[in-house]
Symmetry: C2
Subunit: 440 residues, 2 copies
């Protein structure tokens, strides 16, 4: 054996069956909710042509894109043609550009898939992680935004994480605010980047960053006073009342709030006037979802009416939201404690001796036809060892056909939980096992 | 808009909802069969450290591995650290080496996931495609091999492709044969590679290749005579009867056949004495599954008792099989003709005017609670346009609340198939829609 490092690459993970099953269960639940909201599934390749991705995520983002070397002689030159998918939104924008005529005026899609970022791995930060995205393409109005928020909220409540808070804002509120503070257009991007760090850094440190970015002291102190106010939302409403962009933003937030709040179940929604969201491409409402027990957000999204137009002849309005699968699983694990048994296999068929192999495989096949998960013992060892194996795998039932039983057409059915056992006629074994498994 | 090529990278595909849904349906069916056979799910990263993959697939295979550039300054040097997964078997061997102590003496896992190969794209050959693998780790005997073959067969029958034939052989039959033909040990690999091409090339062309590889004329003519015989299996049985390796191979094939044939449903199994399989790592039984209407194989696998030992302190016996998802979908599409409607959304809730948005969202939410897929119309346009939209999306039902109906607490329920419509009290709409959808 060569001395390899056998762990998965730094920032990626192997999921053994218990974990893989838990992840799959949550993904299926989220899928089902998304489909009930009228979103259809989309699959895109793991990698994209390099020109599709670069320039979409800002300078910091571009550095985190995994690049794939060309094949053959070009490899030696270090040339790159493909990049691993960094998120699911830019591939969606490409897909809309490519298939616009097929998709209809309004198109609702979901995608649950891994993305890759060459970030420095840290607790809860991975280089390979799953996003669960819903987006509505082609709709300008707040009904689409409302359905995104309701779908995200229902997905969280359905997987078992009620009690969340949707924090809602609009980029237009922020633009109006910056106008009111007298922050020049060319400094607004730096201000947004600073505000986006408010959940990770202290107010003082963020303000120092803005100072460093050359923003006027008067602007900064007005901003800091509003953020630190007892009721920031009321302060912001006053602050932007007289400016058209700010008033538009407030109207967006209020209209969306009015649509979502009466129907939202399992959580709350509130106006969060300094919520910025990091990504460049948002144009209207933006949101983040906070869940009890988690410092970072569990879902986020917004309206991005400009992005699809980068890949399409026309500007196409769009909005969407994204759930973080890993954070959901983290919270569910903390809540539930130990995982339930995998349930694979539920039944182990012991093999008495070499001559009994065929009959054991046939017996397994008959029990499997009822829907049970059945494994025929495939190793070496006597019946005692085989029963131990079945217990180790957390199987519920073991089936044994010894020569005496075989002669009488009987099968020994062992309930591994109660330790009870019964001799059952061969033709009735499948039903007997089904009854044991149903009894739980 | 920049003038990008918006198609997915050559050899990869986008799957729009109809296709993505069909793929998911087949994957779920295969998963369910695998789990009923006692295989648990495994997930591994999309990429592996480069030293894990290289040297495992032969020279030709190594050239087809996608390589990922290091980040930061190393990128400029063209240095590579990771490679995209080329199959699911080598990552499995790594996982067994890493977690052996956790997995138990025998471990059955399945994995359904994409793999990437920088092959020249062609009809039916992709650079990103899914494999559906089952493997049994730690078991020497034919029971494990039998369960793999039965699981693969049942998966094919259950997705709707009965009528398959499992072609079975053993590497030991081939080794015995080559010994009988007097082919030297160092020429056996070239001979296996040649035999593996028999399903794509004529017998003459394969024999010419073997000639080119320096194999003696007498060996080649004996081989060609056996392949071309009326009953090659009988010829091979005679040919290897007197040699220990060949006799061992025949015993392996016969034992496995005897275990599988009586239980296998939906297909047949037969001895195919010249079946070689391309991959280096097989040591015992090998198989390929032929399906009616397909020239290439739809599934394949075998026993590889040496591979896991490359990543582990001990030699660990192993066997497995792999289904090709794309070929399965191709055959299913040819069989079924047109796809059934997506079923997303089943119901479209029309929005009478701006004031009705909130009530429409609430109505959608109530109908959704019965499990239906419901979309609230999010675009612009009068009720006529909205109904046209619903028909275009192949929805079954449209719901309309006009001002008159709203005043009376009624909802108009339109059956888009029969064109019938009824006015239903608001509280009874969810049940009325459920009844319509159940009526099909």
């Amino acid at each position: 054996m060569a001395s390899f490092d056998l762990s998965p690459p730094s920032g990626t993970r192997d999921f053994l069956p218990e974990d893989a099953k838990a992840r799959e269960r949550v993904m299926r639940t989220i899928k089902d909710v998304f489909e009930r909201y009228g979103f259809g599934p989309l699959e895109t390749p793991a990698f994209e042509r390099i020109e599709i991705l670069t320039g979409k995520y800002g300078d910091e983002g571009d550095k985190l894109i995994f690049k794939i070397l060309k094949r053959g002689e070009k490899a030696a030159l270090g040339e790159v043609d493909f990049t691993l998918r960094y998120d699911l939104t830019v591939p969606l924008a490409r897909v809309v550009g490519e298939y616009r005529h097929k998709l209809g005026a309004i198109w609702k899609r979901y995608q649950i898939a891994p993305v890759w970022r060459a970030d420095r791995p840290a607790k809860g930060r991975f280089r390979e992680f799953y996003q669960c995205d819903v987006d509505v393409i082609g709709a300008k109005g707040p009904v689409a935004d409302a359905e995104v928020l309701l779908a995200v909220g229902e997905a969280l409540a359905t997987v078992g994480l009620p009690g969340f808070t949707i924090k809602l804002n609009s980029r237009n509120v922020l633009r109006g605010l910056m106008e009111a503070y007298g922050i020049a257009a060319e400094q607004q991007k730096a201000t947004l980047i600073g505000l986006d760090k408010l959940d990770k850094m202290s107010l003082d440190d963020v303000m120092k960053e803005l100072e460093g970015a050359g923003i006027a002291a008067a602007s900064i102190s007005a901003l800091a006073a509003d953020i630190g106010a007892a009721d920031p939302a009321a302060r912001v409403r006053d602050r932007v009342a007289g400016n058209a962009t700010g008033a538009l933003g407030l109207a967006e937030v209020d209209a969306l709030y009015a649509l979502v709040a009466p129907t939202l179940a399992g959580g709350a929604i509130k106006f969060e006037p300094f919520l910025a969201r990091g990504l460049d491409y948002y144009t209207g409402q933006v949101f983040e979802v906070a869940a009890p027990g988690l410092n970072s957000s569990i879902a986020s999204g917004g309206r991005y009416d400009g992005l699809v137009g980068m890949f399409s002849k026309d500007a196409v309005p769009a909005c969407g939201g994204s759930l973080g699968l890993d954070r959901i699983l983290l919270l569910l694990d903390e809540k539930a404690g130990a995982r339930p048994p995998l349930g694979i296999p539920q039944v182990v068929v012991a093999v008495w001796d070499e001559a009994a192999r065929g009959a054991s495989l046939k017996l397994a096949s008959d029990v499997r036809a009822t829907g049970a998960s059945v494994e025929v013992f495939a190793g070496d060892g006597d019946i005692g060892k085989q029963l131990k194996y079945a217990v180790g795998k957390q199987a519920r039932v073991a089936l044994i056909v010894g020569p005496d039983e075989a002669a009488k057409g009987l099968v020994q059915v062992k309930d591994l939980a109660s330790k009870g056992q019964q001799q059952v006629p061969r033709a009735e074994v499948a039903a007997a096992v089904a009854a044991l498994l149903a009894a739980k």
